[in-house]
Amino acid sequence: MKQTIWTKPIYYIVAFLFASISLYPIILMILSSFKPNMEIMMSPLSLPKSFSLQTYQNLLDRVPFMTYFYNSVFVSVVSVLLILITTSLAAFYIARYTFWWNNVLFFIFLMGMMIPIKLGIVPLFMLMKDLGLTNSLWSLILMYTATGIPLSILILTGFFRTMPAELEEAARIDGATDLRILWNVVLPLMRPALGTVMIINFIQSWNDFFFPLIFITDDLKKTIPVGMLSLFGEYSADWGALFAGLTLSSLPMMILFFIASKQFMEGLTAGAVK
């Protein structure tokens, strides 16, 4: 860009403006969770008059939150691992080889995004029943892995294609196997794309509530969103409690993200340096 004295300030103003639009509703949610119902209605924008954790205490007494949390972590971590392994292999195959069927394969994977999976819920339910997986966390893991595959292949294939072929050629001449090339050459260069895939799938499996709603009936097997969802009906008139519930179900994700973001962002920049 042509650098004038105005360029940088304009960048900052725009960046700040949109950062505040992004953050404000979330801050509002957290603040509102400390307010009693009437205060939310009468003065929605003001700071809470007093901070009390009572609502949170009540909520935590009602539900086995730690169990939900453990289930959510387990389901999300395992699905993300499975997605990363399966899709980086598949995307590498699609992006770096030119068999005639590769485009077809790519498109078949993409098709999974083009039709609402809810359509297949009855056959899925029967399949899970036959596999003995209803009421098991593995039904969720398999679903999240399967539903995460299309988007991940789209992203990874796109980025794998941008990698200059020469690097790979060099390794190939050195006699490296395909797997070694993928592991040692391609993946390290693709850390930003992998990071993106990881994060997006983690969030997706963390926040989904449709599959647990259908597959899980045992309260102790529920994940956070569906566990908390059942509270919303009870508190539909108590917005303070509702906001506490919303905050409580979002907070673990945010904390995890803040902890992981350092590694994640380093991954991003490391990729950029190369």
Partner: protein
């Protein structure tokens, strides 16, 4: 790209063949899981569209009757085209507002401004929330009487801009789409940023030495190299806007209220296949037919787009 044209030592050829065999195993794990839990149930369910359904009980085989009804019988065809238009608007607004802004914001972050990490985090934070939370939160903010937006407008002296945002058919859909942009922008920023960062520094340097500046630089050097990420976001936005469901459902329910002004094809599908929220009647046959039509439409457009992008890239 091509490994085979490599004129290097022909002795390696036998070697390569063995390797080639192993490589075909690479997509298998993904295919197995995908085939079992996506392809199989969907194909099984697609057959539903050829049957007559009495509530949730499968009736007789009726061929393409459901498809015919979807397009010729009222109110189904009216609802279809109404929803189709909304999906199109969804796509257009998301492309311009979400992806346009995200491209610019990613470019700003790429300029190594101070606090880049903070901005990245901030834009991405909404994406961490569950759609239910997002829908609920914004319903409150857009509430005509207690909502933060109208209160804020009031305080700024803009009384006449206050509106029942989600109750007015002229603003409801747009409001939802903009909330979706708010939700999705962080992801688009990440994709574009990854795209910028994948541009080899040498090329930019070379361009700079050639005297490319400002927008010329962006257009002639960066934009072509950004095509993979732009393609990804376009395909993704297209598919997601035509599958738009969760946020609309969380904010306006399954009826596309008010007065069908926020109805989308996927919400319409849900209404047909699962009934309304209080156990309204279902039309599983029609719903499945709608899903098939939606699928065919999306896949044709996507295939066409990808094909043309591929051609362009080959030309480059």
């Amino acid at each position: 790209m091509q490994t085979e044209i490599n004129p290097e030592v022909i002795t390696q050829k036998t070697h390569k063949k063995r390797k080639r065999w192993g490589i075909h195993l690479f997509p298998i794990p993904a295919l197995v899981i995908y085939g079992m839990f996506i392809v199989y149930p969907l194909v099984a369910a697609l057959a539903y569209s050829f049957y007559d359904w009495k509530g949730i009980k499968k009736g007789a085989f009726i061929g393409l009757e459901n498809y015919k009804n979807l397009f010729t019988a009222e109110p189904f065809s009216g609802m279809f085209w109404n929803a189709f238009g909304h999906n199109f608007l969804y796509f257009a607004v998301q492309m311009v507002v979400q992806n346009g802004l995200a491209f610019f914001l990613a470019f700003i972050i790429y300029q190594k401004i101070r606090g880049a990490e903070f901005f990245k985090l901030a834009y991405f934070l909404p994406r961490l929330l569950s759609v239910i939370v997002v829908g609920f939160l914004w319903k409150l903010i857009l509430n005509p009487n207690f909502g933060a937006l109208n209160v804020l407008l009031g305080k700024m002296g803009l009384e006449n801009l206050k509106k029942a945002w989600l109750g007015d058919p002229d603003t409801a859909l747009l409001a939802i789409i903009l909330v979706n942009c708010w939700f999705g922008i962080g992801f688009a920023v990440l994709i574009f940023l990854a795209g910028f960062q994948a541009i080899p520094k040498e090329l930019i340097e070379a361009g700079r030495l050639d005297g490319a500046k400002g927008f010329t630089m962006i257009r002639t050097i960066m934009l072509p190299l950004m095509m993979p990420s732009i393609t990804i976001m376009t395909v993704l936005t297209f598919i997601q806007s035509f599958e738009a469901f969760e946020l609309v459902y969380a904010m306006q329910g399954s009826q596309g209220e008010p007065y069908r002004s926020t109805d989308t094809l996927a919400v319409y599908f849900y209404r047909l296949a699962f009934g309304g929220s209080t156990g309204d009647s279902t039309a599983i046959g029609l719903g499945s037919a709608l899903a098939v039509v939606l699928f065919i439409f999306i896949s044709i457009v996507t295939a066409f787009y990808l094909k043309s992008m591929q051609k362009k890239q080959v030309e480059m």
